[in-house]
């Protein structure tokens, strides 16, 4: 039981960081945002 608790505690930090990073990454992948980026930064569209 203690081992499981210890492992879960150790995984909590990296797990939270991964969730936050993936959440931001999916923000980027929204087609509307990609279009805005392409237009705002490079005037590509």
């Amino acid at each position: 039981m203690n081992t499981i608790k210890h492992t879960l505690t150790k995984l909590l930090g990296p797990g939270l960081v991964s969730v936050v990073l993936l959440a931001v990454f999916f923000l980027y992948l929204q087609p509307a945002f990609l279009q805005v980026l392409a237009n705002q930064i490079w005037g590509c569209l």
């Binding site: 990073l21 931001v24 990454f25 923000l27 980027y28 992948l29 087609p31 945002f33 990609l34 279009q35 805005v36 980026l37 392409a38 237009n39 705002q40 930064i41 490079w42 005037g43 590509c44 569209l45």
Partner: protein, 405 residues
């Protein structure tokens, strides 16, 4: 976790306060390109006006960073960071009010550039150097660098969202307010060693430290390597989207590539800091530049597709700012921390010169040849050059001859 000496700040305090300030400062800076279209369109300026201000910002960061580093080494980073944070907010507010390109150059260029110098790596790494033992320094610098990378990754979509929904003026004011809101965190970076305006005793004057560093071969090589880092990162960051468009890829591929670079950059900078604790740092830098050369070669010589672009972006993201914690940790190891922020400022100036050359040469060559090929070949050659010159870098502390009394 706390340092043994009562004259130093707790590790967690340095990391939390330093990381948040650096991520805010780096994040705001990374999104400035988003203001180009709305601002130049509304004000009736050319893109070159905006680009000139950004160019001035980079030079201001590099040049003024050296002097802010001197002040931070002498009077403590706290005062420099408070001044720079206020200047950052004032610069953003001034940018929102800018009525002419000259005003934009002063606010977005000179003021924000100087403010970035005082709120980012060289100054915060100085605090890390003075307060965190050498065996944890590279890791701690990796944590703060990764936070800076995260700020860049997060604030691009945030800034874009704000510009879309509240307009570019208001978005700048929100960012200025955001900078002011993180400013109280500098209180957590007040170093006891500088309490009451007292500076710790130093063995060398500024001039002696500069002479020693510039006369030391390993420092020269490190600066040359950092020039290459700046050249490659900015050339790829600025010109790759146009290159992809020229090669017939959808502009959205470039946006996804930017996201992948941002994501993997966070992992890469943190990993570099951790690896710096366990492996010779000069070899890590040499490996970094070697891999850049390999990935760039594969990217330009193999058939181009969205998948190859994404793989290249992820691979380059891992190497993107991972030179930062390693290079800074070497400088601290070589010369100690008494003049660290100033010496880091010099090394960073070399990076900025490389950045300037990368963006300028990319445009210059393209305008003359209609292709980026020659610059891509140059980035590969520079990778080989940087990989080789980092091999003889000695990261051990410099041996000083004691001066007779």
């Amino acid at each position: 976790m706390q340092n043994s000496s009562s004259k130093t700040l707790p590790l967690w305090q340095v990391l939390v306060c330093g990381a948040i300030i650096v991520s805010m400062s780096m994040g705001i800076r990374h999104g400035f390109g988003l203001w180009m279209q709305p601002m130049t369109q509304e004000m009736g300026w050319g893109r070159e006006d905006f680009a000139t201000a950004i160019g001035i910002q980079n030079i201001s960061w590099g040049l003024i960073g050296i002097f802010l580093g001197m002040l931070a080494d002498r009077f403590g980073a706290f005062r420099v960071m408070v001044f720079s944070g206020l200047l950052y907010a004032l610069g953003l507010w001034g940018m929102a009010q800018a009525a002419s390109p000259a005003w934009l150059a002063l606010t977005l260029g000179v003021m924000v550039g100087a403010a970035q110098a005082g709120t980012t790596f060289a100054i915060v790494f100085g605090i890390i150097g003075r307060n965190i033992p050498a065996e944890k320094r590279s890791w701690a610098m990796g944590v703060v660098s990764a936070a800076g990378s995260f700020g860049q990754f997060l604030l691009v979509p945030t800034s874009s969202y704000m510009i879309e929904h509240i307009g570019w003026h208001q978005a700048l004011l929100v960012l200025a307010a955001g900078m002011l809101m993180v400013l109280p965190l500098t209180l957590g970076l007040r170093e006891p060693a500088f309490a009451g305006g007292q500076a710790p005793k130093r063995q060398q004057s500024i001039l002696q430290a500069v002479r020693e560093a510039f006369g030391y071969r390993s420092f020269q090589l490190l600066m040359a390597g950092y020039f290459v880092c700046g050249f490659q990162v900015v050339f790829i960051g600025v010109h790759m989207p146009s290159y992809l468009k020229d090669q017939g890829l959808d502009p959205q591929v470039a946006g996804t590539a930017l996201a992948l670079i941002g994501l993997f950059n966070i992992l890469g900078t943190y990993a570099a800091g951790v690896l710096g604790q366990h492996f010779p740092k000069n070899l890590l830098l040499s490996f970094n530049y070697t891999m850049r050369g390999v990935f760039i070669s594969l990217f330009i010589f193999l058939p181009l597709s969205p998948v190859s672009v994404y793989l290249f972006a992820a691979a380059m993201g891992l190497l993107w700012l991972s030179t930062v914690p390693v290079t800074s940790a070497i400088v601290a190891q070589m010369f100690g921390v008494a003049h660290f922020s100033m010496l880091s400022g010099f090394v960073f100036m070399s990076h900025q010169l490389g950045s300037y050359m990368g963006v300028w040469l990319g445009g210059w060559v393209f305008d003359r040849t209609g292709s980026y090929d020659q610059v891509w070949y140059l980035t590969i050659a520079l990778s080989v050059f940087a990989a080789l010159i980092n091999l003889p870098v000695r990261e051990q502390g410099i041996q000083r001859i004691p001066v007779a009394a």
